[in-house]
């Protein structure tokens, strides 16, 4: 089905997904527009990864729909690769999967990611931060309309995380693609987003980073950490938040 508005890349309507009889997502609505950075936050088990998979198409909705703009190009950056030590794979060969790309295009993409000359290295020999840059560089080679990042910064230190998001914002500015991120990396993610969706099986609350981080539903889910994020936005308030943790959110 075609979306009426040209800038609307993806629309979820009352999306529900069941895994082995358990309803993991329940009636999720979401619209992604060109040039927008949207972040999904939520505690472990809140259905963030399930939502990604339903959007990509590896999981089928049990109800509702996922509508993509026809011909939508998706660049997906996984959290990590399921690479077994028995698989030899150079960075250059990986970048050219699956359709084959010229050596010069691969080398240019690596250089842009700050990894010039890495094409001959084994994927398994890269550090976490280097692998993350390779994965992003590969996803960007097809000039995607929509870039999807699944916990892309898990395991990186703070400066690496900050550099990663700076690059995402630069990519959005130069390529004009939409970005959908999943993260529990609250503080920096929320500063880099236009729109934040707080997920816990259903959409608890959504809006600008500031409105979400001060919403009661968000604070119930994230407790003290959420409160410190709120403090980032409301640093002129000096009172402390002593919030009870919601049982089902733990």
């Amino acid at each position: 089905m075609t979306l009426p508005d040209h800038d609307r890349l993806l629309e979820l309507r009352r999306l529900s997904v069941e895994i082995e009889g358990r309803r993991v997502l329940d009636g999720v609505n979401l619209t992604l527009r060109r040039g927008e950075i949207v972040t999904i936050v939520g505690p472990n088990g809140s259905g963030k990864t399930t939502l990604m998979r339903a959007i990509i198409g590896t999981l089928r909705p049990s109800a509702g729909s996922v509508q993509r703009q026809p011909g939508l190009r998706i660049g997906y950056v996984p959290q990590r690769l399921a690479i077994d030590p028995t698989m030899p794979m150079t960075v250059g060969r990986f970048m050219a999967l699956p359709r084959g790309r010229s050596r010069s295009a691969v080398e240019a993409a690596l250089a842009e990611a700050g990894l010039a000359g890495a094409a001959g290295r084994q994927i398994t020999a890269l550090s976490g931060g280097q692998l993350q840059r390779v994965l992003l560089a590969r996803a960007l080679m097809d000039r995607p309309d929509l870039l999807i990042l699944d916990e892309a910064t898990a395991g990186l230190d703070q400066p690496a995380v900050a550099a990663f998001y700076a690059r995402i914002e630069a990519v959005r500015a130069t390529q004009g693609c939409a970005v959908l991120m999943v993260s529990h990396d609250l503080q920096i993610v929320m500063r880099a987003s236009d729109h934040v969706v707080c997920l816990n099986g259903h959409v608890c609350c959504e809006g600008t980073p500031e409105s979400v981080s001060s919403s009661p539903a968000y604070l119930r889910l994230f407790g003290a950490e959420g409160a410190s994020t709120l403090a980032l936005y409301r640093h002129h308030h000096s009172h402390s938040h002593d919030l009870p943790l919601d049982e089902d959110a733990a």
Binding site: T58, Y76, I148
Partner: protein, 265 residues
Amino acid sequence: MLDSFLLRAALAGVGLALACAPLGCFVVWRRMAYYGDATAHAALLGVALSLALSVPLFPAVIVVALAMAAVVAGMSGRHAPDTLLGVLSHGALAAGLVAVSFLEGVRSDLMGYLFGDILAVTRADLALIWGGAVVVGGLIAWRWSALLLATLSPEMAASEGISPRAEQWVLNIALALVVAAGIRIVGAVLIGAMLIIPAAAARPLARTPEAMAVATAVIGSAAALGGLAGAWHLDTPAGPTIICAAAVLFAVTSAAAGVKRLLPA
């Protein structure tokens, strides 16, 4: 020339090694070793089926192997895969042995189905083995890049329009063909070894997946020919001797890789 049983055995062994090479790499990369065993063991049920219904062995084994793949695909997720595959693998082997025991006059041939009888390979067998090798090689070459990406990340593959589930079935079909081709050569028990050992032996020699597939084919062929020669001189069973030769090659490449790591660059 094909009248010589030794030459037929050599051609059969090399044909099987070539069929096993690209598939064996994926079995190792995707940690499907147990799954390969389950499919191979199910082949014994195919033997029983073929004898009971008087239908040709090759299609009977393919049908049963594909049925096993469908069972594994349908049940995955409900049990830990390791346990599930262990149950299916050993269950299929035991059920095959019981089923074959009901059939008169087969017990004496049972060893041949379990451990292969490469010296009894006929011209018709050779045609099936090499035909199977060509189909398996073509199938995997056609899906090669998609299979690699689906192995590294099913989500990444799906986002590029590749169906990880369909790619898994490409491997299932290739596995069924290899098992059917291999049951006459190394037998139901040792096909899994023919898939895994040459690929594992090739790993230290390769820097790309393509190079590893080629090295696996070379090592597998060398094991088939070396094992056959060994069996001839030592008067040992050919199938197990081929697997021993592959294991020796694995030990050699692993030791060479270990030494290389210890030496200063």
